[in-house]
């Protein structure tokens, strides 16, 4: 059987289009990496004790003076590392939630998943006196309970769309109530510490928290990478996904579990840094502008948001106190939320 389409096949427009798309993503990734390195250098060098670039490089290669070593390697580097890692974790978690549920509002911080993690973590810290690994596990349990509750309440077939988000917002309020109760019952000193943590702060980052987040990222990011092909198909809706051989419900469940784990781990480490999960993927996709998944740019945007927020909170805002980074991310995220609500149409997809 000869076919006409085989004769007139011209691959050029297609490969051009794909090459351009790939180049675009590469350029964006490079630009974001450059920005991240710049921010990282500033975060390490600038402070009450500021270093020049040569001094910084010398310290990073292990030839600094004792005080430089202490300030850069023991105080600033862990803080920066943790900010980068949780930025990536929050951003990927948000991207997964938003993509899988096909709703830009369905990010873990809006629908109460990070809230659940916070409540469980605060419970662990205040009542049970948990350390960082135990707190992480408690946060994961809390986030999972909230996610399961929303999943069950939203019901079969209702997972995609506004219903899920509205139920999530309702659950988020319940979790807030629980948090308030825990805080009001706690000792004043503990409560203040918990409150600072609840705003989201990378202050006082230790290598133990960093190790927990790093291990979880190392375990889960490859999973995300493997499932990204299915995620791309799932973007086309359940019907087409099934038709193309992707078990929509099962894939969604696996990806949501991964997303919950990422959000919970990051929350356990630094508190529920407001809106990072919510804004990272939309910003990355808008910058890329090709309708691709943009997972790597999303991760980098997440890291940039947390590092810039932490730097701003530390150095650029007036006041004696070091402010937690969550105040800055909240200040970025809230207007975006309002804009999204103002421009979204009735089906809940952003315009």
């Amino acid at each position: 059987m000869t076919t006409r389409s085989e004769v007139k096949t011209d691959v050029a427009p297609l490969s051009h289009a794909r090459a351009r798309q790939i180049r675009r993503e590469h350029r964006l990734v490079l630009a974001l990496l450059g920005a991240l390195v710049l921010v990282a250098a500033f975060s390490l060098a600038v402070g009450a004790y500021s270093l020049g670039v040569p001094d910084l490089l010398r310290t990073l290669t292990g030839q600094g003076t004792q005080s430089e070593n202490f300030i850069v390697l023991s105080l600033r580097l862990p803080r920066l590392t943790l900010a980068v890692l949780v930025g990536v974790a929050f951003a990927i978690s948000g991207a997964l939630f938003q993509t899988v549920l096909r709703n830009p509002l369905a990010s873990p911080d809006i629908i109460g998943v990070t809230g659940g993690a916070s409540a469980a973590a605060v419970f662990g810290m205040l009542i049970l006196g948990f350390g960082s690994v135990a707190t992480s596990l408690a946060a994961f349990a809390g986030a999972s309970i909230v996610a399961c509750a929303i999943y069950l309440l939203a019901g079969r077939g209702g997972v995609v769309g506004y219903r899920f988000v509205l139920i999530g917002v309702g659950v988020a309020f319940m979790v807030q109530g629980l948090l308030g109760y825990l805080l009001s019952r706690a000792d004043l000193n503990d409560a203040q510490g918990a409150l600072l943590w609840l705003v989201g702060s990378v202050n006082g980052a230790g290598w133990q928290e960093i190790a927990v987040v790093a291990v979880v990222l190392l375990a889960l990011l490859p999973v995300v990478r493997v499932l990204s092909g299915r995620l791309r198909v799932l973007q086309l809706g359940d019907d087409l996904a099934t038709s193309l051989g992707v078990g929509a419900e099962r894939t969604r469940l696996v990806l949501l579990v991964v997303a919950v784990a990422l959000a919970a781990t990051a929350t356990a480490a630094v508190g529920p840094l407001a809106f990072v999960a919510f804004v990272a993927a939309p910003i990355a996709r808008r910058l890329l502008g090709t309708g691709g998944l943009a997972l790597i740019p999303t991760a980098l945007i997440g890291a940039l948001i947390t590092t810039v927020a932490d730097f701003t909170a530390q150095h650029l805002l007036p006041g004696q106190l070091e402010l937690p980074a969550g105040i800055i991310t909240g200040a970025i995220g809230a207007p975006y939320l309002l804009w999204l609500l103002a421009t979204s149409n009735t089906t809940g997809k952003s315009a």
Partner: protein
């Protein structure tokens, strides 16, 4: 290779509301089958059942004699593909990207993209005349262009049995013919089995090798349009009085609805007496 898709006494529905009960249908290999019927007669439901988007409450859909639900999903996707009535796409997606995603079932864990995929996607774009749109965004296209892109995606999936749910809805008559010609071309040149739901009875009769007429979740007629399309069947399935004439272009049966105001008075039906307008 011959692939046999069959519904064997399937009952289909949503949330325990049965829409189709105990239905049998065998899709004729290599033919164009068109499913017609009134609104809510179960056409789309049947199509979803055949494409395993909807699990039968009872009975089974089989592919080459084996229960389609038990076969590996990706393997099935290389044989049976469905284009839903209103597919959704992520914001900002480009035409080339969207069509390329149709290759998913042909890709393995490690084999991400090959020159075969390139050739097939390019062929799908050429067949649907979408290659010039490659870098455009889907949302910037007209309705007709968009539908051609979706069909290109379905062709890129390269299934041997292609199911389409109302591929001509929302298109003007020119684009309807364009889309149907495209599908017929695919069928005649590649031997792809095409099964589609159509609303327009006359286009259905013209393009179908086999016509399946549904009413209230059952099949009331199944055969070539010339065999089965009669005034009786139209009345039964659509509750509409019509007269059947021969399509002057291709000789297929053509359904001319009568209505209350015009032409022949079917025996026994009340006739409104409409006086002609006076000028």
């Amino acid at each position: 290779m011959t692939h046999l898709l069959r519904a064997e006494s399937v009952s289909l529905g949503y949330d325990h509301t049965p829409i189709i009960e105990n239905l049998d249908l065998e899709i004729v290999h290599g033919a164009v089958t068109v499913i017609v019927g009134a609104n809510a007669s179960g056409k789309s439901t049947l199509l979803k059942g055949l494409a395993r988007l909807l699990k039968p409450d009872t009975g089974q859909v089989t592919l080459n004699g084996r229960n389609i639900a038990a076969l590996p999903a990706k393997k099935v996707a290389t044989i049976v593909g469905l284009l839903p009535q209103q597919p959704i796409a992520p914001d900002g997606i480009t035409v080339a990207d969207l069509i390329s995603r149709g290759r998913y079932p042909h890709q393995g864990w490690f084999r991400q993209w090959s020159s075969t995929d390139d050739t097939i996607v390019a062929a799908a774009m050429a067949a649907t005349n979408t290659h010039e749109l490659a870098e455009r965004r889907l949302e910037d296209l007209s309705g007709g262009q968009r539908q051609r892109v979706w069909i290109a995606m379905a062709l890129a999936q390269d299934p041997e049995i292609l199911l389409l749910d109302e591929p001509t809805t929302f298109l003007d008559v020119t684009h309807q013919i364009e889309v149907l010609d495209l599908l017929l071309e695919r069928n005649r040149e590649r031997g792809t089995t095409v099964v589609m739901v159509l609303h327009d009875l006359n286009l259905a009769a013209r393009y179908a090798d086999h016509l399946v007429v549904m009413c209230a979740g059952r099949i009331v007629a199944n055969g070539t349009p010339a065999e089965i399309l009669s005034a009786d069947i139209v009345r039964k399935a659509f509750d509409l009085d019509a007269t059947i004439v021969s399509d002057p272009v291709c000789g297929a049966p053509m359904v001319v609805p009568i209505g209350r105001f015009h032409g022949l008075v079917p025996p026994g039906s009340p006739r409104l007496n409409v006086p002609a307008l006076e000028y």
